[in-house]
């Protein structure tokens, strides 16, 4: 009996190793977002293709994949990345360059891929995944009688005293600082990036953030994980916080007393890349999985679980036809998305080329500013 059980243990151990070696590894940001991806397009794709898909969490940036490449032991196949990381990673030769129309099928309406994805890709290595936004939210129970409505209210500590939650890096913070300081983003925020391309503009943005953080009636708490802003708001630690709209939406659906403000939102795209030399890339399994996940049905499926807009026009059409689309069967998704008409009166488009160019220096100035805060 003992021998048989030992043998069984050994066999199951071997099986688990080998089967996980064949599973395509997709790396994403964790929490509600990864959950939406898994349920929306990961599991359906795995089922349809018969290829198991394994999900791993990370916190952004190219450090882990660079380390894997240097060590010669790449374990990741597909990564969900920021736009500027697709540019930098493609330059460094980390990611596979796609032959777009060949690698990704046409939309369900027959339109070829490069026309179906509603914006051009920032690099040859990227395939559009979702459109999300950097906006802010407040706790309706703790805000008092007046409600914040604009991006200027985020910085108005007289009318709304209390701490604010802001992202730990300069990305998105410089833009909203200028938007609140009088440079109206309008439709796209071109004026904001024009100002940020000058030394004076950057200094102006940094000083505005510094003033907010050092204000005795204000103060900043820096968040890095997407799940933190709803947490900070619910616990009352901050009175307002920037964050990713989908996370706020999911918290609201779970019952949190949050309300989102869309004025001055920063629309940003999220992309998928495929790692050169990933364990399942040579066999083509990774590409099959990616293609299935980025198909019309796949992308539409992810919107059932989180309020991020799919990159394909055909997916948006599928959602529109199928409203209410949310998994509870009661909520309409299109109005909750960053791209909804009601939400896009005053917005800027996060410029990945600007950040790919200037990220390092701005990062240093930002860290210096943070280090100098009282």
């Amino acid at each position: 009996m003992k021998k048989i059980s030992k043998l069984l243990l050994a066999i199951s151990f071997v099986l688990s190793i080998t089967s996980s070696a064949f599973a395509v590894t997709v790396v994403s940001w964790g929490g509600a977002y990864t959950n939406s991806q898994k349920l929306g397009y990961g599991d359906p794709a795995a089922k349809k293709l018969g290829i198991p898909v394994n999900w791993v969490d990370y916190s952004g940036g190219l450090s882990e994949i660079t380390a894997q490449k240097e060590a010669g032991a790449i374990t990741w196949d597909i990564i969900d990345v920021y736009a500027m990381d697709t540019i930098n990673g493609c330059d460094e030769g980390l990611f596979v360059e796609f032959d777009f129309d060949k690698d990704f099928g046409p939309g369900s309406d027959g339109v070829k891929a490069s026309d179906d994805f509603f914006a051009p890709m920032p690099s040859k290595c990227a395939v559009g995944n979702i459109l999300y936004t950097w906006n802010y939210a407040y706790n309706t129970d703790k805000i008092g009688s007046k409600k914040p409505k604009t991006i200027k209210d985020f910085f108005n500590t007289k009318k709304f005293p209390g701490k604010r939650g802001i992202y730990k890096s300069a990305l998105s913070n410089l833009e909203i600082a200028l938007a609140a300081d009088g440079i109206k983003p309008g439709k796209g925020g071109a004026k904001i990036y024009q100002a940020l391309n000058t030394e004076k503009g950057v200094a102006r943005a940094m000083n505005k953030i510094k003033a907010l953080c050092e204000d005795p009636k204000g103060g900043c708490v820096f968040w890095s994980g997407g799940a933190k802003p709803p947490e900070l708001l619910v616990s009352g630690e901050v009175v307002m916080s920037t964050g990713w709209n989908g996370r706020f939406f999911n918290a609201q659906m779970d019952g949190a007393p949050l309300a989102q403000v869309w004025d001055g939102q920063g629309l940003d795209y999220q992309y998928m890349v495929m790692v050169k030399g990933g364990p399942n890339v040579a066999s083509g399994d990774a590409m099959k999985v990616l293609k299935e996940m980025m198909s019309t049905e796949g992308l539409a499926g992810s919107a059932k679980h989180i309020a991020y807009a799919p990159f394909r026009k055909s997916s948006l059409a599928v959602i529109k036809a199928g409203e209410p689309w949310y998994k509870d069967g009661k909520t309409n998704m299109l109005p909750e998305m960053p791209s909804a008409k009601a939400n896009t009166k005053n917005y800027f488009l996060v410029d990945p080329l600007y950040w790919a160019d200037n990220g390092t220096e701005l990062g240093e100035k930002w860290e210096a500013m943070k280090a100098g805060l009282k």
């Binding site: 940036g61 009352g236 240093e364």
Partner: protein, 417 residues
């Protein structure tokens, strides 16, 4: 007496010294073989990665090999005005070779780290240079983007010429080499590192002090009360030690935050008003409190084991010789515990100097330390040579502290029990 100057011989006729050495050699080899696996382990996991970090922090060969003609042409350029036509032409030809080998992306990334803005202009140059005419590359390149007419960009390229450079070490102390080769301080709004080094040392020092002030009485109590009580209290010291670091830090976040347990209690007993709650989290206070609690066992345990060896009769003897309690403590007890204090303080200080997770979670902006910045460069900017340089500086700093300690107190005077 008959002073025997003859050598002592063994029964085989070999001098005793030689025979002794031979016997000892076998023992030494045996001892070495016993230690060899550990030595190998240390070399593989410790010394060679550190050596790799050292080479990485000064190694800049990649770009030196990528732009050979450019750097040769730049040798004659003094860096004051825009470089001559020859430099532009060599740069273009080097760049063309890189594009054909598809490695131009790495050059872009490296130069962009040296000076922001290279990313977009090099990409634009790649597109436009296919339609360049022969000769007159300087003018055509400057037309591609106005940054190519900015001499500071060409100086940045020249700065990356040497295959080995200490530029990263200079950066870690907020310095840079200017166009004349002098080492000057970086612009005011980019000076971070000196501030962080000082803050790290300051926090480590105060955490050590707090741990000492709190740990000494605890250790004394544990060492002097009867065994059954001291075992119980020892569990109180050790249990948090066995809890995950992350769990303890997260608990502090809940307790100390503005709407947290402690503040709610203060408001309840009327110590502070509801809208004037003190901020104890996401700042230096949070770092101090959390780090002191987490590092406390490292101070208590060495002190306890040393105090356990001090016989209570010594203190009684001191008192019987006429000493007041304070004098007895200061002149008899305290010096005997000095070795334990040394061990505990050194341990806590060295750990505190390199601490990462706790300041990251509870430090906010004013409580983050140098290790957080090293992690930032590892993860976000991917400037691994810079992170290596800072890591090495930290290591050397800690070794320097150890050496100073050895000179002052003597490392043999440390006892862990």
């Amino acid at each position: 007496m008959n002073t025997d100057t003859k050598q002592i011989l063994t029964s085989d006729g070999i001098p005793l010294e030689k025979s002794l050495k031979k016997a000892e050699r076998v023992n030494k080899i045996k001892a070495f073989l016993l230690v060899a696996p550990l030595l190998l382990f240390l070399i593989i996991t410790y010394i060679s990665p550190i050596g790799d970090m050292l080479t990485r922090s000064v190694d800049d060969k990649m770009i030196t090999n990528m732009l050979p003609k450019t750097f040769k042409a730049m040798e004659k350029w003094d860096g004051q005005e825009l470089p001559p036509e020859e430099v532009f032409a060599s740069f273009l030809s080097d760049y063309k070779i890189l594009i054909e080998a598809q490695t131009q992306g790495k050059l872009t990334q490296r130069l962009n780290k040296e000076k922001n803005g290279f990313n977009s202009i090099l990409k634009k140059l790649k597109r436009k240079m296919t339609s360049f005419e022969e000769g007159n590359t300087k003018e055509q390149t400057m037309l591609v983007h106005k940054r190519f007419a900015d001499v500071s960009y060409w100086r940045a390229i020249k700065r990356t010429a040497p295959p080995y450079s200490i530029a990263k070490y200079l950066k870690a102390v907020d310095m840079i080499t200017d166009e004349n080769g002098n080492m000057v301080k970086v612009e005011e709004n980019r000076r971070i590192y000196v501030k962080l080094w000082i803050r790290t040392l300051e926090v480590a020092f105060f955490v050590t002090l707090f741990c000492f002030l709190m740990g000494y009485p605890i250790a004394h109590l544990l060492a002097t009360i009867p065994m059954k009580y001291s075992n119980l209290l020892m569990i109180c010291v050790l249990l948090p030690f066995w809890t995950s670091l992350l769990v303890r830090t997260a608990s502090w976040m809940i307790i100390l935050q503005q709407q947290g347990v402690l503040n709610d209690f203060f408001v309840l007993i009327g110590l502070v008003s509801d809208d004037n709650r003190p901020e104890m989290m996401y700042n230096k206070i949070g770092t101090y409190v959390a780090m002191s609690q987490i590092l406390l066992p490292f101070m208590v345990l060495p002190l306890y084991s040393v105090m356990k060896t001090i016989s209570p009769s010594l203190v009684r003897a001191g008192k019987s010789l006429g000493g007041t309690p304070f004098t007895t403590f200061w002149k008899v007890y305290f010096p005997l515990t000095a070795s334990g204090i040394g061990a505990g303080s050194l341990l806590v200080f060295i750990l505190a100097v390199g601490y990462y997770i706790t300041p990251e979670l509870v430090g906010g902006a004013s409580g983050t330390l140098i290790s957080n910045n090293i992690a930032y460069h590892m993860k976000q900017t991917l400037d691994w040579s810079f992170a290596s340089a800072m890591g090495l500086m930290l290591l050397v700093g800690v070794m320097a502290i150890y050496w100073i300690y050895n000179k002052l107190v003597g490392i043999d005077n440390i006892k862990l029990g």
